[in-house]
């Protein structure tokens, strides 16, 4: 991990944010497609932040599991809750 690599990640994160900003008022009319793109880009950004800035990438395997498994469970629960919300409407 050196300065060049961290600078590349910085460029990537800025690029993803600019894409989100750009498609928020141009390009696509469908709200569903827009939302799927937003959520996909958000998880991509959070992957880079957690694995490289918070250096989970260089930890041992059991530490990785300890940090990541609760978050995956939480995402699973949130997905179920959102599906239930949409069924109510």
């Amino acid at each position: 991990m050196n300065y060049k690599k961290i600078f590349n990640i910085f460029i990537l994160l800025t690029f993803f944010t600019l894409i989100e900003f750009y498609i928020s008022f141009f390009l696509i009319n469908s709200t569903l497609v827009k939302n799927i793109i937003y959520i996909f880009l958000t998880f991509l950004k959070s992957y880079y932040i957690v694995f490289y800035f918070m250096h989970v990438n260089s930890e041992k395997l059991y530490y990785k599991l300890l940090f990541i498994l609760p978050i995956i469970l939480l995402l699973f629960l949130t997905t179920i809750i959102f599906i239930e919300y949409y069924e109510v409407l």
Binding site: M1, Y3, I6, F7, F10, L13, T14, T17, L18, E20, F21, S24, F25, N35, Y38, I39, L41, T42, K45, S46, I49, V50, F53, M54, L66, F67, P70, I71, L74, T78, I81, F82, Y85, Y86, V88, L89
Partner: protein
């Protein structure tokens, strides 16, 4: 005996405690965002759209939707980079470089708080505040919006306080033995950045 044992806590345990705290904080923010969606999807009156509410850009004469929030995201990512660089230099035991990067981190954090307070002042002039909203819209929107961004702002403020504290500690110390402390402060700071990325998507964009 117990005191001697406590002094020998190794750095793996420090990191583990920090991560447990961060996971519990993730649960708090998840609760906030779930409440936001519950209020939004059951709203009987008009729910304001992010493109229409957030069009204010300071120093520029005309309005661009969501531009100021994008700039604020960019500012937080920048501060995350400088915090990473500070930890990296400290690990290579270069004290002065580490302090310079930490100083930039504190400065950019204060800049973020300044930007957010500008946005809050503008919104309150337009008629958005706790329990207040332009007529015809759902008042729960401004309640939950100010609650979430205020909670995140308090996190940034606490992060700045921790950074100032560790800046003084590193400046005064003779031998370099506060790597664990700096690393944990860095974890907290990156976590604040991570939360902002999620707020940017779920509150402003969607």
């Amino acid at each position: 005996m117990n005191d001697i044992h406590l002094n020998k806590i190794n750095h793996q345990n420090w990191k583990l405690m920090m991560w447990l705290f961060l996971i519990s904080d993730i649960f708090t923010f998840c609760g906030f965002i779930n409440v936001f969606f519950a209020l939004r999807l059951n709203s009987k009156t008009i729910w304001p759209n992010g493109d229409i509410v957030f069009t204010y850009v300071p120093l520029i004469g005309y309005n661009i939707p969501l531009a100021f929030v994008t700039i604020m995201t960019f500012i937080l990512i920048m501060s995350s980079i400088s915090m990473y660089a500070s930890t990296y230099e400290y690990k290579k035991s270069k004290k002065i470089n580490s302090l310079i990067w930490l100083f930039f981190t504190i400065l950019i954090g204060i800049m973020f708080i300044f930007c957010q307070s500008l946005e809050w002042i503008h919104l309150s002039n337009k008629g958005y505040w706790f329990g207040k909203i332009p007529i015809g819209h759902n008042v729960n929107y401004s309640n939950i919006f100010f609650a979430i961004t205020g909670f995140h702002g308090i996190h940034v403020l606490i992060g700045i306080m921790i950074n100032i504290f560790i800046f003084i500690k590193i400046y005064l110390e003779k031998r370099m033995h506060s790597y664990n402390f700096l690393n944990n402060a860095g974890l907290y700071w990156h976590f604040v950045d991570l939360i902002w990325v999620f707020i940017f998507t779920f509150i402003y964009l969607i």
